[in-house]
Symmetry: D2
Subunit: 384 residues, 4 copies
């Protein structure tokens, strides 16, 4: 039972950030939560400016996440935040998330969960130990038609899955190849902030997560070819990966930030013995079902014939496009079910959102890719 | 300056309604407003149930809009709602909107504004007299790429506009042709609730509004062929209209609810002497610019080269789909600029949302279409 | 039984013409016919030049169609042409076709068949009297997926058809609106050569023919709005038409030559009580079947599940695009079945190509449209 | 100067074959050649039946290619075939082509040219020695928009090319995974007839050739993961390949025959520092040019702004789809320029068709892929 709005806190997401506002809109879309506190930047002035623009109570706009933990913890249970959303650059996720968990707060965290597999495992253990909700925003799994694809794979409608092609090309770094000066200061290219990977850590792991969510396939070994085209990038900006999944399926996964002219066309194609499937993030309200007989059926969001998960994930009926924010909001909505149970001291329900376990697999994937890349694309077993 | 969230009230939009929840999500998407009161149904129990699910203060869940006006008016200025969203069936818009305006509240109202041109004019006069904000949710004008299309037409980039084709086919009533029993009780088919028109009043006026918003063209005369395929429908469910716009452009506008298998593909094509344009609601983040030289350029949302209005209307960068709710929210965001000015007693800014004037034109269009339809498609001058 | 290639003659189609080469490629694509004679232009030098480029025997390159008839008639039956393809501008079709039929030749003729309904009827009577084959190249009916659409309508798979939207916008005249000088001398704008109609006669009748071929629907009455945007055009270059089909279906048909940036997107959408269909000429190898339940199936050419007519009309398997020429060649291939029967003195088989009867309906349609256009879009009964 | 039709002979292509009829239609589409002789099958009865259906002179329907060479060679120069098209399964190409070349005939040969790199080199040497025309039908290079892509890459419009993704998934073997019995006897799976590769040799080399034709990039080394999903297949039916091109570009090339529900969607995406390009075989008349600024321009066939090669390769103007056969015919048309020069004893012009050198590279590619595949995807230098 929902008898009140959840109180949300945020770390990161100052004015001008990209993902912070997305989290805020997604978190409050359904009227289930309200942002009441935040440490929006490591720069106190910037944090306060953001709090002001968000019309927050100035007393709950903090100068640091540590201050936030300290002061929120002292508020009465009926006032303090129920959960915190962490939307800072990668390298700080581990410390911040750990601190909030230890202080008894539920956590929603942007991906990648940490910058090392070791940290990921530690954090995962901490999550289990504390019993708090931890939701990782692999947001693409929130799209209704992704859920329909998962349903069809899970029900065996494709037969045995033999091949998966997942791709995530972006082009926004292409211009930096000839004008590297424009890229100066980009944290995604800085191992100290981004971790050991640029392209794979930023978008490649979305692709891996999407495959796993839809098909259930787990990487057995992989063979990665990583390149850096932007000179001042200390990390890779293009990665092409061959994959052997457990059970025999073959895969191609690639991610790129130098594919000039591409926006955000994450896509996945899954081929079984009975059917093929295709889903494209830039046209997210459709799922294309390919029949070997030679016709192809476009399922569309918001219709009655879809599985309950797909139907439930659509906020609008057919023909009225749900977008990125709505998919993102589905991660939050599922997290809220857990958070409400946690608050009420009830048994944790099964919630359809990525967890710290997905975070562990994501970091294992990144480290395996980097290892293979360093070894001239040698087949490398998935770390665990 | 935004120093607080606006307080929103709602009339209509009980549990199970389609458009009410859309208004709620759109209104609060940007964190600028909060729903605090409502009369969600003419059935008090249903209203209270809805208030409960929305976690409202039970004291502000009202049994009728009249009660809502009476009680909200007595609240201190710092508590009472700043505006009300009216999302009831068509026939009640006029009374409800008039009552709230007279009581000093700003109004957001779903379309069609009223069920007669006379009412529309009366309401428009009332809006002007009260000086309150009145926003009409012709939501399709909220899409970023619609604003880009408007910009390009306005700047003369198309040359002189000669031809417009706008279409709004839906198929959800097609099944009622053979199974009319399933349609029993549908208010859209009942002139007492829907007004004099079903298909044109529900969706055709969106098409007319879209043409006017993008091109600035005004209907001079039209020639309408209206049909009813669903037997128990007392109004039309298919309308095909030829249009002469002022200044010489020719148009086709059609709306249909019996186009089996269509979801919500409102689309517009505009042809000038220099360029053609195409926009499609089901794929809303793109605008297709057709060059007579034989190439076609797809503009996409969230990019720097777009006009300020299109850029400002996108919540997310390129490749991250904005959807129906975000477009809808743009109507609210613009209305809020007016409402904040009204509250602050400042000069009303120019706000980019449909107004009561659009409501008047919409009703004039409906009545002209009905008149032409009754006269066996005689060319009929646009009423005014 | 095919024991020899048919001998083809051609009237019109000199070097530089558009449709002449299409006929030549289409007629010979399957190795069933060979071009052996021609009067390619009313300008003898141009005719001879064309014959030379086509590597014809100079003795069979004629200065006029009259000379061609005279000389070919004197050749022994084993040498003279079996049929003639008439690809001249509209106004000469009647005389040329009549002369060849009277001289005992089979005829393939481009559309529109004649420039008046009276001529069309006369020619149709002559065809029946002579018993010769007369094929009219409404080539769009040759596409495999158009045949599948026809099959599905004919079998009642759509239920009762209630609505048809057929459109044929082109943009190539848009530039002439501001630069009329570039259009000087265009025969399509000259009533003496084109007949009474430009846009409808050139492309609108393809649209009408396509509707009739696919759905079997016949126009009962229509209401036409015709415009001329190119100043030096003596005929219409934009036509928007509302249609009442016999049996109650409603339709919109429009054709335009001033829709800037459009190439050749003839398309048709048919809506029945059970299903909707869509076919687009610029993407011709697919047929889109729209189910009211909210999914849509794309049938594609060259697959086993299609009807025999669609399968037979594809020259290549799935995924290997058939194009305009192949569709055109299907008209010829069907005509050849008739021509071979005629030569063999056998009973005429049922051949799937447009005939002189389609020519009569086409001219009736043109004249009805023009009559309605002249009477300020009055509903006008289809002439017959 | 074309003063006569070329005389064409064919080896292979009996009734029921797929590619033989394509060659016949393509070869004669422009009226430049006529099929006059053939050895259509190693089964004499089948060869004669085919000759009969093609209405050939029975004396020139041969029981074997050896008989064809012997008898055609004895015909007077003005009667014997000018060239022969070889459309038999792979393993026989080498012997047949060699024999015809040695006997003084020009050759058009289907791909792959031979079944070993050694044979390919020998054949290439023979071609050079004899001075005859040898055209290899990598037909996809015949599409107009592929030529436009090549033009743009060659002119540097993309800047430096950094990434290429080329894919060729088919699904027609997917059904054999669960029903292998249906695949019994398929020559493509038999190393004795197909050579050492199934999927790569059949379609992968089209992909390699397409990349090279468009971009000019040459494979430096590659890393291949080959799989066999159809149990009775003795060769691979799925191949995923990472590529390092000379000069630093990275690539992914994959070909598959078990991608359920895919028809023939060969596609290529090329990313440079300035622009991206995309072309898709199933929608061949468009080229998509992706600008990093965030818009994308669709070039379409048959327009004036295209490069001369693209314009010349289109048989029809804009909006009138050219298909697979027309692209195929462009290979022939270019070969004819060479053949006519060869016959006339003139200097060989530069002809835009794949040659025996492409055949050598194709076989080198296949053998390199197989070698890498056998060595657990080790990076393997391109053989030469």
């Amino acid at each position: 039972m929902k008898n009140r709005r959840l109180r949300m806190g945020m770390v990161g997401g100052a004015v001008g950030a990209f993902i912070g506002p997305v989290h805020r809109m997604a978190a409050t879309l359904d009227g289930e939560a309200e942002l009441v506190a935040g440490a929006f930047s490591s720069n106190p002035a910037k944090s306060r400016k953001t709090g002001g623009e968000l019309m927050l109570d100035p007393r709950r706009t903090y100068d640091s996440y540590r201050e936030m933990i300290a002061k929120e913890s002292k508020l009465p249970p009926g006032e303090r935040v129920d959960f915190v959303s962490i939307v800072t650059p990668n390298a700080s996720h581990f410390d911040i998330a750990s601190a909030f968990l230890k202080a008894g707060f539920n956590v929603v965290c942007d991906k990648p969960m940490t910058t090392s597999l070791k940290q990921a495992k530690d954090l995962h253990r901490l999550v289990r130990k504390t019993g708090k909700v931890f939701a990782l925003t692999h947001n693409y799994t929130g799209y209704p038609m992704v859920k329909q694809a998962r349903h069809m794979c899970g029900k065996g409608m494709l037969g045995k899955i033999n091949k998966v092609v997942v791709e995530y090309p972006q082009g926004w770094m292409a211009g930096f190849i000839t004008n590297p000066g424009n890229a100066i200061g980009m944290w995604r290219m800085d191992p100290k902030i981004a971790g050991g990977s640029c392209c794979i850590g930023d978008i490649g792991i979305h692709a891996e997560n999407l495959v796993r969510y839809i098909t259930g396939l787990e990487v057995e070994e992989l063979c990665a070819d990583l390149s850096t085209f932007v000179k001042i990038n200390k990390l890779e900006d293009d990665g092409n990966i061959l994959i052997h999944y457990k059970g025999g399926a073959r895969g191609i996964l690639y991610a790129s930030q130098i594919s000039a002219g591409e926006e955000n066309p994450l896509s996945i194609r899954v081929y079984g013995t009975k059917l093929g499937l295709e889903w494209r993030q830039e046209d997210p309200n459709y799922l294309h079902v390919k029949d070997p007989a030679g016709y192809r059926t476009r399922y569309s969001k918001g219709n009655d014939y879809l599985c309950p998960e797909a139907k439930g994930a659509a906020r609008l009926i057919w023909g009225h496009p749900d977008g990125f924010i709505e998919a993102f909001a589905n991660i939050y909505r599922e997290a809220y079910r857990g958070i409400r149970a946690e608050i009420a001291g009830k048994r944790m329900p099964v919630c359809d959102h990525p967890t710290s376990l997905d975070g562990v697999v994501g970091l294992a994937f990144i480290e395996t890719v980097l290892a293979s890349g360093r070894s001239r694309s040698k087949w490398t077993r998935m770390k665990s």
